[in-house]
Symmetry: C2
Subunit: 434 residues, 2 copies
């Protein structure tokens, strides 16, 4: 974050910003990632979907058809809530996860990130608490912070957020008279931890939320990208009055069109449409029509199956390489999605280690990115979505070398920091450094 | 606006919204506009560009080229600041208006509306003042309200905002200790008034802003759509340290791709990129590449010339019809853009008159939409951008009938309201009802 001193000297408008601008800070590892985008670096950092697996001929025919038959409408402003024809297809996509929603319940957004932004804008007063998993999605916490929320992490383990820990946190916040505006969850193949909330805990957490009058925001970009069997049913499929659901085409189609959606209870949905109109007038007609055409004309379910195969193979490449090169390092075993969460041996710090990793031509995301409270030094996120399997294997080989070297340094000179691991239940305690 | 009573009974989450949600209200005439979209109604209400004038074959060849040669990149996430290749073309477009900016100074947004939203989010604390023209763009005031700003209108006349009135307003606000965060201006072919800020006033207003340390937000979607001669140079072309400039492809190309941009001084620009990443991660790669391809491969200046001809013909149709059918009604004479501002005879109310107008199969936007303070009843905005000239003529003929009938009613029963006209200098006082 920019220090106030440097800001004052460099930016003549520094004193004019709103209070919330203090929550806008560049990622500390941003500069490093610029280096990590060089082709010789195996990046296990970014969450880019492997769009090359899309049927480009079908994408082109969808675009051609839109321009040939509805060009003027595609280039015009549309409705703030989004194209009804696309909302019909969104209903079909959600039905795959057991969600029943009316076309009127859906608001199309500029990626589900805009959905998060609108929900945050609609609910968060400065100082309000948002409860999130520990760790949680960096982009969500960035939005919450930009509206001056405090993010309260609740512990998770291999079965997702721990209900008892949630209950305790709600009580603590109530005692401290901090309003809790919503519970933000990524129940399926969570970003960054790669774990899935169990069926029984879904029921329990819904009950806790209902008992305490707390809204749930269910962010589900990865739900259809399961590898062996579908995850438990969506929270929104059980409770349509207390859950705001965020969906995305970024992972089942592609992120480049920036189309996602929100499903919300009636009163909230009305306000979301007004908030979206204030923010962008209307989502892109062109992008919506291309998606509607593609989902109407092509076997999108078979395409999602192709994506599942692609990502399953990459998950396998990563877990196999971890078994081979880092057999005593604890990590989660994702059954879908894009990410795996790794716990470093005691004394190692994932942020401190990153420059060395990039020198060794492998990149990852340090765990601190996924905590609002500075924790996560012992953790890192590995993304298996984008590189080909061979590159993943090579990337893990390089990472193993980096970790081994860091261990030797720690053995020789002692740990750089004394942080104890957070999210302690997320995996069995890492083995001691040998 | 929803009354708190009805909200409580209908929306169980009513008490959970952030304070700023109170600023999100549906337009009072929204329901009427749904009726007005029926094909038999001549709509002079909406500001839809006439995209049918675009060369669709060239749009298609641009899209084909992007998908054939850069499909995977077009479908992927991009940078938060926007594609450098498109920012190069944006520089060329702005050079047409005398603006010199570096590629690094530009932030690509989801339409210029998102630029407005980001600027508002970055600067506005609840209770801050934004100074705007009187009247001003409804969509801007909606954004400012959504961040709990108070909008302070400053009088304009046929040459734009009156500098002396601006000076006075700034002093009043200083005396009242209300922070002024920026001065929001649409200097060219203003929405809704259709007037252009004169060259000498541009200099004077820049001086006033500089003397008072007030940032200017220059919103310029229509600047290139002049009919006879270009407007005076952009404020940003004179002052690059105190002006945030908002540009848009919606009027020179098409709104359906939702691409606009912001040019801002360095420190502000850095924060805008972070705010945009929080809100949408990145603008659509696909839309940006299609625009870059189109602006690189085709004679976009000739196309803007075609648009000028289209809108000039429609402006002429409207002003000629007004001379024929409503010779004693005062209105502005726009030299470019989309809109004309009309002042009704004393005793008439544009909002009250709208249902009757729609019954007579013509629609317009009541003046109240363009004031934050409830004024504007004696005014209405007429858009000449979308209907063909013959329809515009017919629409004005119908409007004349409605106004004549309303006048007769007022003569018989007296005025429905006693409001005196606002923006009194905007045109010569309307003649008395005969």
């Amino acid at each position: 974050m920019m220090s106030p001193g440097s800001g004052i000297s460099l930016d003549p408008w520094f004193d004019n910003y709103a209070d919330r601008a203090a929550g806008l800070s560049a990622s500390e590892v941003r500069a490093l990632f610029a280096v990590a985008s060089r082709p010789e670096v195996v990046s296990l950092a970014g969450g880019m979907p492997f769009v090359a697996a899309l049927p480009f001929d079908k994408v082109r025919s969808s675009v051609d058809s839109v321009l040939a038959t509805q060009g003027a409408a595609a280039l015009q402003y549309g409705s703030g809530q989004g194209l009804p024809r696309l909302r019909e297809k969104i209903r079909d996509v959600m039905a795959e996860e057991g969600i029943r929603a009316g076309v009127d319940d859906i608001v199309v957004t500029t990626g589900s990130q805009q959905g998060l932004d609108l929900v945050a804008k609609l609910f968060i007063n400065p100082g309000d608490a948002i409860i999130a998993e520990s760790p949680s999605y960096v982009g969500a916490m960035g939005v919450f912070r930009s509206y001056q929320a405090r993010v309260e992490h609740v512990e998770m383990d291999d079965h997702g957020m721990i209900p008892e820990a949630l209950r305790e946190r709600i009580e603590q916040l109530r005692d401290a008279q901090v309003p809790v505006k919503f519970l933000y969850l990524i129940p399926n193949f969570q970003n960054p931890a790669g774990v899935t909330l169990s069926a029984s805990r879904r029921v329990e957490i819904l009950d806790i939320a209902q008992d305490n009058g707390i809204l749930i925001v269910e962010d589900n970009p990865y739900g259809l990208l399961w590898f062996d069997s579908p995850p438990p049913q969506a929270l929104r499929s059980v409770d349509d009055g207390g859950v705001i659901y965020l969906g995305s085409f970024s992972k089942t189609f592609a992120p480049g069109l920036r189309v996602g959606w929100v499903v919300a209870p009636h009163g909230i949905r009305e306000k979301l449409v007004l908030a979206s109109e204030a923010a962008i007038l209307s989502p892109s007609s062109f992008a919506q029509m291309v998606l509607a055409e593609y989902f109407e004309s092509h076997d999108w379910k078979a395409q999602i199956d192709i994506f599942r195969g692609v990502y399953r193979e990459r998950r396998d490449a990563m877990t196999n390489a971890l078994s081979s090169y880092l057999p005593d390092i604890a990590h989660t075993n994702p059954a879908g999605g894009f990410y795996l969460w790794l716990t470093l041996p005691e004394g190692l710090d994932s942020k401190d280690m990153l420059p060395r990793a990039i020198t060794e031509l492998v990149a990852y995301t340090p765990g601190t990115a996924f905590f609002a409270n500075g924790q996560g030094q012992r953790h890192l996120r590995l993304a298996f979505c984008y590189p080909e399997p061979d590159f993943i294997t090579e990337g893990i080989r390089r990472l193993a070398r980096v970790i081994t070297e860091e261990r030797e340094l720690v053995d020789t000179f002692g740990p750089a920091s004394s942080e104890t691991p957070v999210a302690a239940n997320l995996e069995s305690p890492p083995p001691e450094v040998s």
